[in-house]
């Protein structure tokens, strides 16, 4: 192989923002190895200033087209914390369902549309659809079920319209919940088939390990003790594999966990807690909460040999498959509970007060933090958001620093492919705020 390698997966546009992979190797010496995010700042925190407390979740839902439910949910929770609002058990359970729908749609999308093409040796899901049509149709079916679930609970697939501080503007009817239950039950065999398809090519996941700190939520809400929702995406304190059972942080201290800082190679902020980087996402949640997985999720765990000692970041996508199975079963459990108790519209009462509120929930790609402050009229005076992608940037960089020397002897193309696959394992949210077309007309 050549002793020199120059990898430059680069995009110049600052409008959309992209991640760049830059590697320069000269005479087998690594001169440069960087994960760069030259994204234009989006100033969402400035946009919410001066807006009413009940506008916030609508505005911030536009931060991301994939995780819009998570952004709306965490913003709503932070507003409720600021205003001292408590929600009913019914609201909490319906929000859980909504959140599970996003985990399912996002995980299936991530594994099926972004990671599977790599494992099958295809450039994207479009050629994969031609090569493995049946497999892609299964993936699409599961994704569609999750989207229908989001549409039912959030009012539409993305950018929810049913959330409001203090409650919900709409809850599903008993009949809709029964239909949803039947649809989810029907989806289980397809989801198992999707796992089998991924398992058949899982040998193509790079053999790479790097132990790091894994940060996620840990359930503290007694309402969910002993239920499948004890594996938390929505409530609890912040924990990590470095906490070893002590030193967990309440979410209102999230700024002391994220410890955001700036670096030269990126316009996006980086984060660190006990070490120089940490991992946020399905693998972190799994490591901190695996004992609470549902029976089907445990089957997936076993199929792939996933364990809490797994340190391969590419296995994040396997952890997502386990979580996809888990949220289906956790959803069925909540639907049964709602049907047993009976579901009905509830009145929302809000008394305004000045104050600051914090919240943290698990977006599909990892723990997500928001904080807002309001004056006595309910107008926002300050906001702060910290997305999982920013929390993972330093970790991607550290993965690169171990991965490049390990695989550099395989040559430039193979190394580039592995580095791109690593980024895709995280699927960073770095170009989500704009999706415009760019075309030339065929004359």
């Amino acid at each position: 192989m050549s002793k020199n390698i120059n990898i430059n997966v680069h995009h110049l546009t600052r409008v959309e923002g992209h991640g760049n992979i830059v590697v320069n190797i000269k005479d087998r010496t690594i001169e440069k190895c960087e994960w760069q995010v030259p994204e234009a700042p989006r100033f969402f925190e400035a946009m919410v200033r001066g807006r009413r407390y009940d506008d916030i979740q609508t505005i911030v839902s536009r931060i991301c087209g994939i995780c819009s439910i998570s952004h709306s949910l965490v913003a709503t929770k932070a507003v409720e914390d600021a205003l001292g609002l408590k929600v009913t058990e019914q609201t909490d359970m319906v929000r859980h369902l909504m959140h599970y729908s996003e985990q399912l749609q996002s995980h299936v999308l991530h594994v099926g549309y972004l990671v599977a093409p790599d494992l099958f040796g295809e450039k994207s899901v479009v050629p994969l659809a031609g090569k493995a049509t049946e497999a892609v149709l299964k993936i699409v079916k599961c994704h569609r079920v999750a989207n229908q679930m989001s549409a039912l609970l959030a009012g539409r697939i993305t950018h929810p319209i049913t959330l409001t501080p203090g409650g919900m503007t709409r809850v599903p009817t008993e009949e809709e919940l029964k239909n949803l239950k039947a649809t989810l039950e029907d989806c289980v065999p397809d989801l198992v088939d999707v796992c089998k398809v991924v398992l058949s090519v899982a040998g193509n996941l790079p053999n790479f390990e790097r132990e790091t700190e894994y940060v996620s939520l840990k359930q503290t809400n007694p309402l969910y003790k002993g239920t499948l929702s004890e594996y938390s995406f929505y409530h609890g304190d912040i924990t990590s594999t470095d906490c070893n059972g002590s030193g967990d942080m309440p979410v209102d201290k999230w700024e002391s966990v994220a410890n955001e800082y700036v670096v030269n190679q990126s316009t996006a902020k980086w984060c660190k807690w006990h070490r120089e980087s940490y991992f946020a996402g399905a693998l972190a949640r799994y490591k901190n909460q695996s004992k609470f997985l549902s029976p089907l999720a445990k089957q997936v765990e076993k199929m792939f040999g996933l364990t809490p000692k797994t340190y391969n970041p590419f296995m994040n996508n396997v952890a997502q498959l386990a979580e996809a199975a888990h949220v289906v079963e956790a959803s069925l459990e909540i639907i049964d509970k709602l049907l047993t108790k009976g579901i009905k519209p509830e009145k929302v009462d809000v008394a305004l007060r000045a104050g600051r509120g914090y919240a943290g929930i698990e977006a599909p790609r990892g723990i997500l933090f928001h904080a807002y402050e309001f004056d006595k009229n309910g107008e926002c005076t300050w906001g702060n958001c910290c997305i999982p992608t920013n929390q993972n940037h330093a970790n991607i960089q550290k993965d690169f620093e171990k991965l490049v020397p390990q695989f550099m002897d395989e040559g430039e193309d193979a190394l580039r492919q592995k580095m791109e696959m690593l980024v895709r394992a995280y699927d960073p949210c770095i170009s989500c705020s704009t999706h415009m077309l760019n075309v030339e007309f065929i004359k």
């Binding site: 997966v9 100033f43 087209g65 659809a129 950018h159 699927d427 415009m436 077309l437």
Partner: protein, 161 residues
Amino acid sequence: MTFGQVKKTIVVGLGNPIMADEGIGTVLVDELSKLAAAGKLASENIEYYDGGCGGMYLLHTIAERQKAILIDCCLMGTEPGTIRRFTPDDVNSVKKMAHLSLHEVDILKVIELAKQLGQCPDEIVIFGIEPVKIEPQMHLNEPLKSRLGDYITEIRKELEK
């Protein structure tokens, strides 16, 4: 989109209203929805849908429809504010993507995937509108703002075909 029957035609506004002119599709579909709710625009067999920046979800939004009309901000090399009607076959995408994330989406690729899977509507029409600026901002720029009526007239013509 809900469980059950879907309407034959869907009008999808795409884009992000907190990124200035990038949100033209969502602004227009919001206006069209209001007109339909007021009985000033057909709605019996037509669904008006804010697709936001959902990207790949479009696959499901357009599935099982006979016709999809997509409204989106579009870099076409024309004067800002220009609206053009075209079909996916009329254009080549020149959008540069790193293929590192699902968060970057080329809608034309989603349509290609829908065709591959046999889940594409019989007819897809795209209304592209040339932006002035795409940057964090919660309102449209001129001339797009004052041309909303013209855009609605163009889309109405398509709906009345």
